[in-house]
Symmetry: C2
Amino acid sequence: MTVIDALLEHNAAYAAGFDGEALPAPPALKLAVVTCMDARLDPARALGLAEGDAHVIRNAGGVVTDDVIRSLSISQHHLGTEEIMLLHHTRCGMQTFTDEEFAQALEQAQGVRPQWTARTFTDLEDDLRDSVRRIKESPFIPHTGNVRAFVYEVETGRVREVS
Amino acid sequence: MTVIDALLEHNAAYAAGFDGEALPAPPALKLAVVTCMDARLDPARALGLAEGDAHVIRNAGGVVTDDVIRSLSISQHHLGTEEIMLLHHTRCGMQTFTDEEFAQALEQAQGVRPQWTARTFTDLEDDLRDSVRRIKESPFIPHTGNVRAFVYEVETGRVREVS
């Protein structure tokens, strides 16, 4: 049995306890969370989000790429969200190598150099401030009055705000 | 109190019950899940993922963009994942408008037309099959022997495989 098969067994139990009533698509809290794909961070549990509450956008680093701008734009224009919570975390893998090191490693391993960059960063708080700026400067995100940035501490489970 | 402030209150309780021991960065299940940002879907609860188990990558639609390829590449090359689970869902917002409609709406609302496309789709299963293909064709994702595609039913909580 693969890992995925085991997850499907769990899902059968989840579905058996499901209340069967489809929630509305627009997030109840009018909130979008942008965070890292990191396995140690479960944003729903760490923040107390229930099904239906918020959009959750995740990629390597939780960095604000064009794809995140696309997702936030759809979130606000089509599904009514107005607040944005950016959440990086301590001990992030994106602080352990550089864009150039990653590009060289891919080129050596696969024979092709990617056209995209890895989007690594060195300082969590600096990258969060840059991320807030990128969102506020985007013409495609109408609601930027409540964009706030946080660090999740994988050592403590605590979320602290970055100003 | 804003929505985010309420979440921070919840987080204080989460951190108080945190075991304090930092988990390792590489996902325990060697798995990456790619899914939609949709608020109705909590992949951790629906699949039984604990903190530390899997990377979770989410965007509008759960579509395989260049940013998802970037994240999966980092996940496999740097953090040891080997399986990929793609998870779309029923009643997805991305089926309710077209790329052109979204571009026109942004241009009218903001005065600027985006250079990116919304990446909408009409058929869930067709888009999942395209997504599997894009992953298998990418030179930057070394492990493609176990890439599987699923639909989450927001009406039932059930996950079903797409072949």
